[in-house]
């Protein structure tokens, strides 16, 4: 009865994207995106050669790649250092940001106090705080982690709060009428409801944490890609400078992709957005 055959097929088709026209359309978009990126890199290389731009102004992508390969043994340890700082900074952001958000959701007093302070603190340019943080936390790992944390924890807090507050009033009524405990409401309703939004915040935080770590390295460091970049600048070694930029963006891309993959593994109930 009730469910018409058309309805049923329409629904089941959306479940099998491989058989769907949308699939090819989505793929063709990927092909176009890849072609545009490759085209831009090629144009860059061709222009650099045609206009005979000196390497200290703008090296071509080929020269940069060659430099990464030839200096790989030197660059790799620095890349690990930066990655490590980013990951710990991000970890601290999650470890502090999510409990903070839960506190904000569950206590209106805490919300009024903590939320106000957190939002107000965002108006302070955190890059300008970096030198002070180095004075406080020293030249080693801690100062970079703190800067990465300060820059990246805000979107995690905001998105977790927004996600957990998006629970509909009726859903809360339903939970209560089933006699669910606060813990059950949190675990079975609030948390899963918030997960897509939390992952959104996590993606933003990932890219911000990379910025934080590099800013920390700029101020004071003797290792890490930010440090290498300062050295390269001092020697007017533009090729090396570009090489570190490329590796930094590689860190950002890989971490972003990792979060996206994790998101798809955890959230299987929603058609994933194509922002990855």
């Amino acid at each position: 009865m009730a469910v018409s055959p058309q309805e049923a097929t329409a629904r089941s088709r959306s479940r099998l994207p491989v058989l769907d026209g949308d699939f090819f359309r989505a793929r063709s978009q990927e092909i176009i995106t890849a072609s545009v990126i490759i085209g831009l890199i090629l144009a860059w290389e061709v222009l650099v050669r045609l206009l005979e731009i000196p390497q200290y102004l703008l090296p071509g992508p080929l020269a940069i790649t060659q430099r990464i390969i030839s200096d790989f043994d030197m660059l790799l340890p620095h890349m690990w250092v930066t990655t490590y700082e980013v990951l710990i900074g991000l970890g601290v952001s999650i470890a502090i940001g999510i409990p903070l958000a839960i506190g904000i959701v569950y206590s209106s007093l805490f919300e009024r106090v903590a939320y106000t302070i957190i939002v107000a603190s965002q108006t302070i340019p955190k890059v300008a705080l970096a030198p002070i943080i180095v004075i406080w936390f020293g030249y080693e790992l801690q100062s970079k982690v703190v800067v990465a944390f300060l820059i990246s924890f805000f979107p995690i807090v905001i998105n977790t709060v927004v996600g957990m507050k998006s629970l509909e009033r009726e859903m809360l009524y339903l939970a209560r009428s089933l006699g669910a405990s606060e813990l059950q409401i949190f675990l079975s309703f609030r948390l899963p409801k918030a997960l897509p939004t939390i992952f959104g915040g996590l993606k933003v935080a990932t890219t911000l944490a990379v910025i934080g770590a590099v800013v920390g390295e700029f101020i004071a460091a003797n290792k890490g890609l930010g440090y290498v970049q300062l050295l390269a600048n001092g020697n007017l070694d533009t090729v090396l400078n570009f090489a570190t930029v490329a590796l930094l963006s590689l860190i950002g891309i890989v971490l972003f992709a990792a979060v996206s993959i994790l998101e798809q593994l955890v959230i299987r109930w929603e058609p994933s957005d194509s922002a990855t």
Binding site: R15, E168, G179, S188, K193
Partner: protein, 260 residues
């Protein structure tokens, strides 16, 4: 089998206060709902009929008056009720089956028995084969059917329906009315059905409480003496139309329905 409940409402009043403003949602409600009865509440939007449902569910507290279920005063959520809202509020992260088994999980009920019941109810509303689908793969009507099955799966002695078909198209709504009347006709639960559709109320109910605009009061209680099982074709018959006209006349008297 559950034993349907008796509901006693005496002099119930509900006032919402936000800041300095106070809004009287319900005023002096006296109502008794018999065990196994299907009572529909019709009224204009904002008349406090949903408030009445939330009060009975124990999700809100009355400002004044007494509200008892089977003789005991409602204090805190009445956890034996099955509730359906206008929004289906399915958990998007759970399959149809797991949505339907949510009450069993929260209440730690006999899993196997609940699974059998869930399967039977799902197939009764035409959803067999959809057990492992996620809500976003279903149409609005299918989703609301899942929500109805979720409310019925614990075989509740009280079924509370707050404009459950309000967001559906007319055809789906007719089908849902038929499904619902079949599901509740066994009389194993007392049902409160909130709606703004006069036709729905007459088609489904044993008795109809007609509500005034805010502050909500009961204007009239009408017994619907139409034979069961009812078919959609009954809606075109004069007896059915008489009931509809009678309720319309009450609203016209109140100035809710105006023709010129």
């Amino acid at each position: 089998m559950s034993k349907p409940v008796t509901i006693d409402i005496e002099g119930v009043q509900k006032i919402y206060t936000s800041g300095r403003e106070a809004v009287i949602a319900l005023e002096n409600i006296d109502l008794q709902i018999d065990p196994g009865e299907f009572l529909a509440v019709v009224g204009p939007s904002g008349c406090g009929k949903s408030t009445l449902l939330l009060l009975i569910a124990g999700l809100l507290e009355p400002t004044a008056g007494a509200l008892t279920i089977d003789g005991s005063v409602v204090k805190g959520p009445f956890t034996k009720a099955g509730i359906v809202f206008q929004r289906d509020v399915l958990l998007e992260w759970r399959t149809v089956r797991k949505n339907v088994l949510l009450p069993a999980q929260i209440k730690d009920l006999n899993r196997k028995q609940q699974e059998e019941r869930a399967e039977a109810l799902l197939s009764q509303v035409g959803l067999d084969g959809f057990e492992d689908r996620y809500p976003h793969e279903l149409s609005g009507g299918m989703r609301q059917r899942v929500s109805l099955v979720r409310a019925l799966v614990q075989d509740p002695p009280l079924l509370l329906l707050d404009e459950p078909f309000g967001a559906l198209d007319a055809l789906t709504r007719d089908q849902m009315c038929i499904d619902l009347s079949r599901l509740v006709e066994r009389g194993t639960q007392t049902t409160l059905f909130i709606t703004h559709s006069i036709d729905e109320a007459v088609f489904l109910a044993d008795r109809i409480a007609v509500f005034s605009p805010r502050p909500g009061r009961i204007l009239e209680l009408i017994d619907v003496e139409l034979p069961r099982p009812r078919k959609l074709s009954i809606q075109t018959q004069p007896v059915f139309q008489e009931y509809v006209q009678r309720i319309r006349a009450i609203f016209a008297e109140q100035g809710i329905l105006q023709e010129d």
